[in-house]
Amino acid sequence: MSPPLEHDYIGLSEISSMESSDKFSSSDSSSAAVAEDAKDHRPPALNLKETELRLGLPGSESPDRKEKVGLTLGLLPKSFVSGAKRGFSDAIDGPAGKWGFSGGAGSDGELGKGGVLFSPRGEGGAGGQHSGQGSAGKDAAAKATGQEKKAPAPTPAPASASASGGSDRGIAPAAKAQVVGWPPIRSYRKNTMATNPLKNKEDAEGKQGFGCLYVKVSMDGAPYLRKVDLKTYNNYKELSSALEKMFSCFTIGQCGSHGIPGRDGLSESRLMDLLNGSEYVLTYEDKDGDWMLVGDVPWEMFTDSCRRLRIMKGSDAIGLAPRAMEKCKNRN
């Protein structure tokens, strides 16, 4: 089975071209392998790869994603730009000031404003906001605006969160800006770590015997991930409300408009209706690396096979549902 393309919440693949050929003993160029892999994964109608949020640099080649693993949160005084694996030369496009993000540091609430920030394609306006960016790909600049408010300031990192004496791990001080060569991990190690060890970790965490079942939860547009222990929930309803609480700060303005009164008695199908109605849907990556809609399968089956969760834009998830059903049928 093709290796899952590890996407973090903004859809960057950590697999390098070297590593992707690991699972294919053929001598195909790795780029072909990765491309084929992506195609096997997704139904033609839904090219998640293209619609996923990612940060690229102005002028960087958006489609060629396997080469670019960096994000740019360009608020730093130096030209802190991309974590592109190759050529620093690709990365630099002048000092960070060029990024010209609208609005300075803001509150979390700002993220929720203007869902346009996160629409991946077709809107084009996102690109237009950053005319100074040059030929930013349609994916590129928009995502950055959502991030910039969290980028570390030039002065010492925002301290409020960590000043509480450590008892409350609380909210992270700032989203990390990915910078070339930081943290200082050798390329070889980076490439090797991209698949196996991560999978190991997830598998290990998924082991029943361990008494906890931690999975990462990412949300499109949120600056950081959360981790939840699936064992602490008994059904989809509990999971959903927990996630709702966790990520509520990012969904102001989204769910509100649909008004979610009477969350009690939320059945599995109701969850789906709800999520379908709102801006976001809850999806998960299963053991095979496929992304499925949450709620299709019985809870136990779900916790058995879920490796990570992702709250994605409803528009992105359109193709998922039928496939999930099919897969379920095939399984049963």
């Binding site: 973090d8 592109a84 620093f88 570390p152 301290a159 960590s162 450590g166 060569g181 991990i185 090797t192």
Partner: protein, 589 residues
């Protein structure tokens, strides 16, 4: 060893009053054979002309820490009898993609000179050099006595180049390509002739494609002196078992995946294969460990001194079980999946531990907030290890949070650190409890650890940290700095205060021309200086170049936009003059 005598004596050297030693040069050369380290040899060569000559005739191994500091012709002229060469190329920050491709450090010009000057060359050990297949082929055909090839973090070659080595090097004892960026064109490179039996060390752990296992098995079976075998991820457990059965004499083993293999009939077979390996002192590989198979290893662990689990996503419980079987462990590399609990297990089981490296499993992950679960290691794991392992002298620790107090405690428990590399992965992160800069942490390190030779700093640091370093770190040789400091003063303190400094690498710090120029007197006694994304300008670099003609001041210029700013600067001493192979983006001032 043929010692040629070249009589270029001055008359005055013959007269007894002027000779430092009154026995013949032949004797001196015989004695000098026992002087091994290159530092000692350099010292010997400075005593007087006789000693210089005796030393250069008797030297068989040359170490060149910066391939551009000297030319191959100069090396060949001075040392006529070299059998073994160690060469290092690119600046260390190239490991982190800070150096553009095609920067240089090509081995080929060296090989061409060596082919005529040292036809009996036996060993070549390269680090961060560019090596092409043509070069490997040239090497294999030009040196009939060639024995050992080690390529660490090199690039530019493919498995075709390896095939040349295995085909033509009849006397090969060592082939090690660890962590090199190799283009993998398939596994047929392992084609040693059937008559070939001299192999002692083989490391192909980083190759991605499958090698011909039958060929490997036959090779292992007939090479009775094989001591080091590190295979890649395609060698499954049953295959590993077969190899172990043929080579119980191994001292260093790198396994493939340690997980489900349908071909393995039973755990007992595997365990018995391991129990026959009584001489194992080093174990690595262990990709994808399944706890079901881990116990098969236990019989072989009793004599382990080095355990490299840095590619193994082990949990704390599994690590604890494994470590209980390794009482003699001196060096341990792990992933931070073991978390603080795993480090506590280290503290309770590994009292002889001298070196610990904790690598991050998810270095590029956006910050993850845990609901009660762990994520990586913290300061408490660090403190725990220091309490249980008083002999610790080498640490490399990647974490997301640290406190000044914890570091102070660690060095109080382990004052013998020679290498202290702490990487708080979040840039400019202060002490997460007090919110202060991490200055006091590194202050404690340099005040307490007088033997400190290598230091890497991180977290939020002001000039104060560097004042401490300059004041106390009198044995410091290598310093790595990133996203730290407040002004030129920081760098100045280090340059003025650390007399033994040899390598200084700095990125993204507010150090400018004044800081750069304050080290004018220092750079000739250092191997190199790297500064990237600091506040240097072309003018400042040009001034340095003008004042210090025996330094190569190179600026890497990748974009045309800002002509004044010197984005990446590499300064190093050289007797070979400016590089002749510099690519267009490297400007030598």
């Amino acid at each position: 060893m043929a010692i040629k005598k070249q009589k270029e004596l001055d008359i005055e050297e013959k007269s007894p009053e002027n000779r430092i030693l009154s026995f013949p040069d032949e004797v001196l050369e015989r004695v000098l054979v026992f002087v091994k380290t290159h530092k000692d040899r350099s010292a010997v060569s400075l005593v007087c002309r006789d000693w210089y000559n005796a030393e250069r005739w008797s030297r068989t191994h040359v170490f060149i820490g910066n391939c551009y500091s000297v030319s191959p012709e100069m090396v060949a002229r001075r040392f006529p009898n070299i059998r073994s060469v160690t060469l290092k190329g690119k600046p260390r920050f190239s490991d982190f993609n800070l150096v553009p491709p095609n920067w240089g450090s090509d081995i080929h010009p060296w090989l061409v000179v060596f082919a005529s000057a040292y036809p009996f060359l036996e060993e070549l050990r390269l680090k961060r050099m560019t090596v092409t297949d043509e070069s490997l082929d040239f090497l294999a055909r030009s040196f009939p006595e060639f024995k050992a090839l080690s390529l660490v973090s090199c690039d530019g070659f493919s498995t075709d180049g390896l095939a040349s080595i295995t085909t033509y090097c009849r006397n090969l004892t060592e082939l090690d390509i660890q962590e090199s960026g190799i283009e993998d064109l398939g596994g047929s490179w392992l084609n040693f002739p059937e008559s070939f039996t001299s192999l002692e060390a083989l490391n192909f752990a980083n190759l991605h494609s499958e090698v011909n296992f039958d060929a490997l098995e036959r090779l292992v079976a007939r090479c009775k002196s094989l001591k080091v075998l590190k295979v890649n991820k395609h060698v499954m457990l049953e295959q590993l078992r077969r190899l172990l059965v043929r080579a119980p004499q191994l001292t260093e083993l790198g396994t493939g995946p340690f997980s489900q293999d349908h071909k393995l009939r039973s755990h007992i077979d595997l365990e018995s294969a391991f129990s026959n390996c009584k001489n194992l002192n080093t174990l690595s590989g262990l990709w994808e460990v399944s706890s079901m198979y881990l116990p098969a290893l236990f019989p072989a662990c009793t004599n382990l001194t080095f355990l490299n689990l840095s590619y193994t996503a082990l949990q704390s419980a599994e690590l604890a079980k494994l470590l209980q079987k390794c009482p003699l462990l001196r060096r341990l590399w792990v992933l931070d999946t073991v978390e603080d609990k795993g480090l506590e297990a280290v503290a309770s089981s590994c009292h002889l531990l001298q070196e610990l490296r904790v690598f991050p499993a998810d270095p590029f992950e956006q910050e993850v907030i845990m609901e009660g679960g762990g994520n990586g290691v913290t300061e408490s794991g660090f403190v725990a290890v220091s309490e249980g392992c008083p002999n610790l002298h080498y640490v490399l620790y990647f974490c997301h949070q640290m406190t000044n107090a914890a570091v102070a405690t660690v060095v109080r428990n382990c004052p013998n650190f020679t290498h202290f590399r702490l990487c708080i992965m979040d840039m400019r992160r202060p002490d997460y409890l007090t919110n202060e800069p991490m200055d006091e942490a590194f202050g404690a390190v340099v005040k307490t650890c007088s033997k400190l030779r290598r230091l890497a700093v991180s977290g939020l640091l002001t000039d104060r940290a560097f004042e401490y370093i300059g004041t106390y770190a009198k044995n410091l040789e290598t310093l790595s700095v990133a996203f730290a400091g407040s002004s030129d003063r920081g760098m100045q303190c280090v340059l003025e205060g650390c007399p033994k400094l040899r390598k200084l690498e700095i990125r993204d710090c507010p150090f400018g021309n004044a800081a750069l120029l304050s080290g004018l007197e220092r750079y000739e006694s250092m191997r190199s200086l790297w500064m990237s994304a600091c506040n240097l300008t072309m003018n400042g670099c040009q001034l340095l170049a003008r004042k210090m003609p025996r330094l190569n001041v190179e600026v890497i210029k990748e974009d045309e936009s800002d002509d004044m700013h010197a984005e990446k600067v590499y300064v190093y001493r050289s007797v070979a003059g400016p590089r002749r192979d510099a690519p267009p983006f490297v400007l030598t001032l």
